[in-house]
Every structure is written in C-alpha cells, then in structure tokens.
Symmetry: C2
Subunit: 184 residues, 2 copies
DNA sequence: TGTACCATGTAATGGGTTACATGATTCA
DNA sequence: TGAATCATGTAACCCATTACATGGTACA
C-alpha cells in the first residue's frame, strides 16, 4: 500500500516536525485509524528525503543534541494532494480474532459462548467510555473549515463503530438466550 | 498473534479437509473476518503437523494426484479449546486509509472533501447489498445449537458494521453541508 | 543527581501478499 | 483438446513489531 508515506506527508503538510513528534501524533491524534512506531518512521523519512518529497534542517537543542526538523517539498505536496483527492477502496476486510472465535463457538457450551461474548462486550463498552471522554473535550462541533473538525469526524467515527459493535454483541446475546434460557 | 493456527484448528475441529479446501473456506465463510492464501496455509500446516496438533493421510484422486487430508489430533483439540474459551482483547486498532484521508481533508476544498466522502459511502452501500443478499439465504434465524447459527451471527456483525459506517458517513456529509451549502 | 522525557537510529523476527512453479482432473 | 478447477509447494518482497542500542535535556 505505502500508506505510511501519505500519513507522514499529511502531517508535514500541516506543519514541520521531527520524527519524534510524528511518533507522538501516531500515538494520539491518529491512533484510532493509523499507527507507526519510530522504528518504522525513521527509515521511511530517510526514503522520502531521497525521493525529494521532504527535506530537513538540523536544529541544535541545548548545546549538543541534534534534531531533524522535517518539512514537505513542493513535489511532496503535489503527491500528497493527488492521494488526498483520490478514491481508496476498502482493502482486505480487517482481521478480527473475536469474530473468528465466535464463528467457531458452536463447539462451546452455552455458558462458555455467552462468557466470551460478554467479555468482548465489556471491553468495547470500556472503549466507548474512553472515546466519549475525548469527545466531551469538544464543547460544540467545530466549524468545518478548521482542522479540529476532522479530529471531530474521525473521533465520531470511532464512537459510532464501537457503539455498533456493542449493539451487535447485545443482539448476539439476545439471540443466544431467546428461548428463555438462563443468562450468565 | 499466531491466530492462523487457531483458524486452521477450528476448521479441522469441524471436519477433516485439505489445504486447498481451507483456502476456499477463507475465501468464503471466513472472509468477513479472517483470510489466508494457500501460500501461507501450506507452510503453517507443515508446522502444525510437526507440533503434533494435526495429522494427515494421503488420498489418491484419479490415478496419480495425491491430496493430503488433514485432521485434528487430541492435542490439537485441546489447544483449540483453550483458545476458544479465553478472552482475546482487541489488538491494535484496524488501519483505515479512508479515515486517514478524512483526517487530512482540511487541506481540500469543500467539493473535494464531499466527493471523497460520497465515493466511500457508495462503496459501503454496495458492500451492504452484497451482505444482505447473503443474509437472505437464511430463511429464518437458525437455532443456536447449529453451526449455521454462528455463520448468521458473524454475517449480521458484518452488516451492522457496514450500516454503522454508512450512518457515520451520512452524518459527516450532513455536518459538512449543515450551513445550507450546496451538495455535490 | 536521578528520573522522565527528548531524540535517533538498527537488527531480528513475524506475518502476509504476490509471483513463481508444477502438474492432474473433470467436463464440455 | 482446451478451459476451469483441483492440488501443492517455494521465493521474493513488503509491512510492521519488538528488541537492541545510544545519548542528551529539563526539572525537581
């Protein structure tokens, strides 16, 4: 795919930063839909410099420590823009270990199956709580020109994804217990 | 993760089959939540035989063609059962190129942003149509003891996931156009 | 002075895809 | 007899994670 390239170009298209800063972005604002560790970022940066899509200047922090402040080049902006406006079709369906487990749950007892579903439900409910907490940081919906608006959209997407998952799990529990059998 | 191992054990726990059969299962019944190509399956089968979790006997088709019919061993069943009843927490958030694109869509024009959202919406709507078609194959909900019941649950999960995604995309469109600006 | 954080890199390994490679069987 | 499908394998490559490795800065 080579999508990491565009994630980096996207970040640098907003503002110049170091590889370390990027790693932090991946851990925070991008976390719900993309991630990369520094061990993947640094080699990619080297490559993008070689391709002329980004460049850097060295800044001295304190008296010795060198940091590389990367910025995007015109060529980089051009390639980013191309990616940003084109349609990217859904790649292979995301792998989901729980769904695999549920698919094979016909080999489990009634109680065992319900337990794995409830365990999963609990985890997604906790995830929603974390996301709602982040959501509450937005007082009101930001205007769509501002870049906080895209933060808002992707966060909303994560909340809705998790809520749908919980709804599904609750439906599964209902289906399993529909004949008046005991709940766990 | 090593989840492929359990996908294979799960299949063989139901019935004996060849590597080729497994590849077909991955392309059909497992497709919405796990996938593996034959080039990944065959080496894994070799490994599982070496570990004593599965075994095979060679069958002759026609007059020459050898096929390996794999079956699960007692040890294999034991390890599968352990996995099948234990909780597997959500691994890293699934990567999603479209969400990345949307996150950076503050650099696009109003029309460009709406276009990428509409394109995405169309694709997910088409996906729903395919899934609903499969869904209609079930006359009524299978009883929860039968293994078609788990087929039903995971398919329902896929439908609900896609519907939630469409709802989210529609919400995004509404948010982008909420000030009475023209739709594309 | 010690601890948390800033900052950058490489190596080994795992997981997965695409391509390469071969050959038999079935059915029209 | 040719095309679709059955059937099994390996090699090269890409993407990503974990671990290894180093050292500086800021602040209490």
């Amino acid at each position: 795919m080579g999508t990491l390239k565009y994630a980096i170009l996207g970040l640098l298209n907003r503002k110049s930063m170091t590889g370390y800063d990027m790693a932090k972005e991946f851990e925070t604002s991008l976390f719900e839909f993309w991630n990369a560790k520094h061990s993947q970022i640094y080699p990619e940066l080297k490559l993008l410099v070689k391709k002329g899509l980004i460049e850097y200047k060295i800044e001295i922090v304190g008296s010795i420590l060198e940091k590389k402040l990367y910025s995007i080049t015109e060529q980089g902006r051009k390639e980013f823009k191309e990616w940003a406006v084109s349609h990217h079709s859904m790649k292979a369906v995301p792998k989901d270990e729980f769904r695999l487990q549920l698919f094979f749950s016909d080999s489990l007892t009634y109680e065992e199956r319900l337990k794995v579903i409830y365990d999963q439900l609990r985890e997604h409910q906790e995830k929603i709580a974390v996301l709602e907490e982040k959501m509450s940081k937005f007082g009101k919906i930001p205007p769509c020109q501002k870049d906080e608006f895209t933060d808002y959209m992707v966060l909303l997407g994560a909340v809705m994804r998790e809520k749908a998952c919980c709804e599904w799990l609750e439906t599964c529990i209902d289906l399993c217990t529909r004949d008046g059998e005991p709940k766990v």
